[in-house]
Amino acid sequence: MEYWITVLTFALIFASLSVSYNISVGYVGMLSIAHAAFFSVGAYTYGYLGTKLGGGEMFLPAVGLAILIALAISITIGAIITLLPENFVVMGTFALQVIFTTLLINTAGITNGVQGLAGIPAPIIGPYEFASRTQNFILTAGLALVSLLIAIAILRSNIGLRARAVREEPAAALSLGVPVRLIQVSFFAVGASLAAVAGCVYAGVIGFIDPSSFTIHTSVQLLAMVVIGGMGNPYGALAGGFVISVLPALLIEMNIGEGAAAALQQILFGAVMILVIMLRPSGMFPERKIASK
């Protein structure tokens, strides 16, 4: 039972990440492969503050600082890459992800390099300490709920409607006075900030972080979650994230060796990504069409 609570806890973290990733990829069509980089910003901010400067009380200040750092990076990078043709955005963020992973490995003074940061304290929010498995589950469920509510609120707002216009017909949207670049950069930044928050929670729950958790493979896994779940639909992204995160645990339960399980899992991700794009491009839970009035 405890094992499955842990599995579900991490599934909820990745489901929240998938929801935040969907804000830039699904809502506004800006395919970034650097989401794991923003996830690492949050994880390392709390990891550093929690281990070096204080205990679990540093959780909320770390969340605030992580959001600020993620905003600064995403707005700077977003402002540059949105000037490039749409296909080039992917390659730009690919490069950003690789650069970030190398930075995590090489700035050992802050990140402790490949050895990672150990002994990260359990988060404390006000009078509550989230130390046990059940408490961690509650914390991550709260994170998933908040991420989902923010995503739904954005989607249903006027700016969500404009974002869809930017995704579908950027030129037409621009001709109608929609600030295309501003919307693209804003959505990229909101997604990045939510990923940073998820990173703080992840570091607090797992207690140990190293660069291997934030590589390009994590970003690709997030892409698989959103594509399979349904781009543009927050519930789809949540479901995709949840299902794909639980999958490895199921493969291990089926007594498939750990190494082979990891490779099989990747094959499954890749194959399902291809099949979904070919047969059901809108994913398991397609985005709702806007009803014309």
Binding site: V25, L31, F88, I99, L103, L264, V272, I274, I277
Partner: protein, 315 residues
């Protein structure tokens, strides 16, 4: 001077591997608008085929290289026919989200690399190259095999460029890249042309993988970073010629080798990616902006000259 020469020679044979991917990626992106990341998997298909045929089954290495390249080419054509074409449609008739071909390409890369990993294991594999001795260049001693490797890469890219410039397929491929619907009107068969160009670029990637596994231990996932380098190199100059991409790959490998030599291992990826991204920003943002500005200035100057010339006539 010796140190510089050593790094240059190293860049020459490392860049030769990258160039085989960069050329294929750049050409496919130009003609079909697909970012063919699966070339990274074809790189592994070529390399591991040489291992399978030459080490496990005792075939001569040259034959292993040829079969590996042909196999990678065939896989490339199959990927296009059965995955890309249904997703993108033909003759530019089917409008698709630009993310779709990219996601499928990434999916193919992941599937093929992991199938190879399950088949051959996750440990790096190496095939001993033929012993061709050592060549003295200035004060540097280089394995002759490495020079042969660079020459093979150069020859393969040269043949590809020759094929494109001297055959009807090459002209048709360029026409498809410029105007797919127009090309279909004048009788270009997109299916046939795409089969050939995906086969040729797959062969180049497969050859790259073969040369890599004959030079250093190779992992099934090694094609991923190389296709990323190749992509960025070709996207800096998307309209450049095949041989320009080849030289740019050697240039990128030089930056990579120089970073290791001067700063130490660990930072080379960051430095190279930053330089390549900087190159893309300059070529796709800064230069077009400067060109637009120059055009506007020229137009303003013409307008001013015209109105100045018109004034005395009117007054």
């Amino acid at each position: 001077m010796t140190h510089f020469l050593e790094i240059l020679i190293q860049a020459f044979y490392t860049g030769a591997e990258w160039a085989l991917i960069a050329v294929g990626f750049g050409f496919i992106a130009r003609t079909t608008n697909i970012f063919h990341l699966a070339l990274g998997a074809l790189f592994s298909v070529g390399g591991y085929s040489v291992y399978l045929l030459s080490v496990r089954n005792g075939l001569p290495i040259p034959l292993g290289i040829v079969i590996g390249a042909v196999l990678a080419g065939l896989v490339g054509s199959i990927i296009d026919r059965f995955i890309y074409q249904p997703v993108t449609g033909l003759y530019g008739q089917r409008k698709v989200n630009h993310l779709a071909p990219f996601v499928t390409s990434l999916g193919i890369l992941i599937v093929i690399q992991n199938v190879i990993q399950i088949w051959f294991g996750a440990s790096p594999l190496y095939v001993q190259p033929p012993d061709l001795g050592v060549t003295q260049i200035g004060q540097s001693r280089v394995l002759t095999w490495n020079l042969l490797k660079a020459a093979m890469s150069l020859a393969a890219c040269g043949l590809f460029a020759f094929w494109l410039s001297r055959t009807r397929t090459g002209a048709s491929a360029v026409a498809l890249g410029q105007n797919a619907e127009g090309a279909s009107v004048v009788g270009v068969s997109e299916i046939s042309v795409r089969f050939q160009i995906f086969f040729a670029t797959g062969m180049l990637a497969g050859l790259g993988g073969s040369l890599a596994i004959l030079s250093h231990p190779t992992l099934p996932g090694d094609g991923f970073p190389i296709v990323l380098y190749g992509a960025l190199i070709s996207l800096i100059m998307p309209k450049a010629g095949i041989m320009t991409w080849w030289i740019a790959s050697v240039g990128a490998a030089f930056i990579y080798a120089q970073s290791i030599a001067s700063i130490g291992g660990g930072w080379q990826d960051t430095i190279l990616q930053s330089v390549l991204m900087g190159g893309i920003v300059v070529s796709r943002i800064l230069i077009p902006w400067m060109q637009r500005r120059a055009k506007l200035r020229a137009a303003a100057a013409t307008l001013a000259a015209t109105s100045a010339a018109a004034k005395p006539a009117g007054s």
